[in-house]
Symmetry: C2
């Protein structure tokens, strides 16, 4: 197809397609004649990947380049290409500041990884993020909240299993990489959203208020699962 | 204690403590004499909460005010105060744009909530975030990735159970609210971090490369759990 058709089918302006080409993000078009360039579905898929990385993934053009170079390199093992894709994702909230790599956080992450039997490279971006976040809990005096870590780790395993199923279902390296980046970024937002919903559901169970509408509630006395309603309209104590 | 001691023990400047007071974030000091003001551990705990909400939680002063007004209102049920705290947390990434509240995303979230038997108010901030995120998957043509939703929802339940245990372990409303906000924000970062680590671990298992160091790898043929090594140094095929 001509560049005008590629533009129409991808919804991306001709000037933008030319910019992607100059930046080396798009493979060269076939040149059936000296004045014609010809594009195929390969180009369409690649434009789609670029848009997904830029828009849903929030990657910079430089980061998109690195990711695309990795997936275009046939010598690059897939798990390594995925690592590059993961690392290209911009910092998530809570990730501010540096981890003290010999510090408490780094040690606790190493322990957790050993406990779970996880096999990972030291460069995994999650390791530094986890270390920094553990340091942040300690810096505000809430190291007690780290008791949730084992439950979080089990949940992360469940999430990662679903994520890898999605990657394995993709037909080629382009689509797999798109799945890694898009799935990671949108998945983080989705999990955060579902966590808030599940928290509220659990909160009603843990801190029940009888009757309809707002009313006074006592602080819970015991573990949430064991909590009895603190007052009832029917049986005032 | 005097304001100077409160400043020293909290690590917060006297001018900042006075600012918190003027903004109505701190309860009034005791006034044992016309020229003396006296602060207690209640004030120290409250300053700690304010710092945690501002710094770890990323809340604005206006949002901190709303959260503190909710926990200071004895008529406010705890689960409702938690909802206010949750809603005060600034938008997470992926949350850009509006959800089409009659749209595909909103419908799918309602379905998921019904499937899980979750009891939540329509104002739960996770509902709109989930709807917008589902719309984002569709807008880039990756609605297929929503197959991960049930696994994500089960993981969210596991996370929320740990979160509510942490809230229930807190001694009073101030500390419980701090736990809701700090635990939600730092917990999001922690779960995102552990997810990346678990993904890499799973990725090595799903797309194994034999031998040490990088080398060529075939794209996987089958489901990750069933994948056999695609080549071995010892037994070339």
């Amino acid at each position: 197809m001509r560049i005008s058709q590629l533009s129409e089918r991808s919804g991306v302006a001709v000037a933008t397609i030319k910019f992607y080409s100059r930046e080396g993000l798009l493979p060269a078009a076939l040149r059936p004649g000296p004045t014609r360039t010809d594009y195929s579905d390969v180009h369409l898929d690649r434009i789609r990947l670029i848009r997904a990385l830029l828009e849903a993934g929030g990657l910079s053009i430089a980061a998109v380049k690195r990711v695309i170079a990795a997936i275009d390199d046939p010598e690059m093992p897939l798990d390594h290409a995925f690592g590059i894709a993961q690392s290209a994702i911009p910092a998530t909230r809570g990730e501010r500041g540096d981890a003290d790599l010999g510090g408490q956080g780094a040690e606790r992450v190493a322990e957790l990884i050993a406990d779970r039997g996880w096999q990972v490279y030291a460069e995994n971006p999650g390791i530094a993020l986890a270390a920094r976040t553990i340091d942040a809990y300690h810096s505000i005096g809430r190291g007690d909240l780290l008791r949730s870590l084992p439950a979080y780790a089990r949940a992360a395993e469940m999430i990662a299993a679903a994520d890898l199923d999605a990657v394995a279902a993709a037909p080629d390296r382009d689509r797999m990489t798109e799945t890694v980046v898009v799935g990671t970024v949108l998945g983080d937002a989705m999990i955060a959203a579902l966590r808030r919903i599940a928290q509220e559901h659990r909160s009603h169970r843990a801190f029940p208020v009888d009757g309809s509408g707002p009313g006074p509630a006592e602080p819970p006395r015991a573990r949430p699962r064991a909590a009895e309603p603190t007052r009832t309209e029917e049986h005032p104590s």
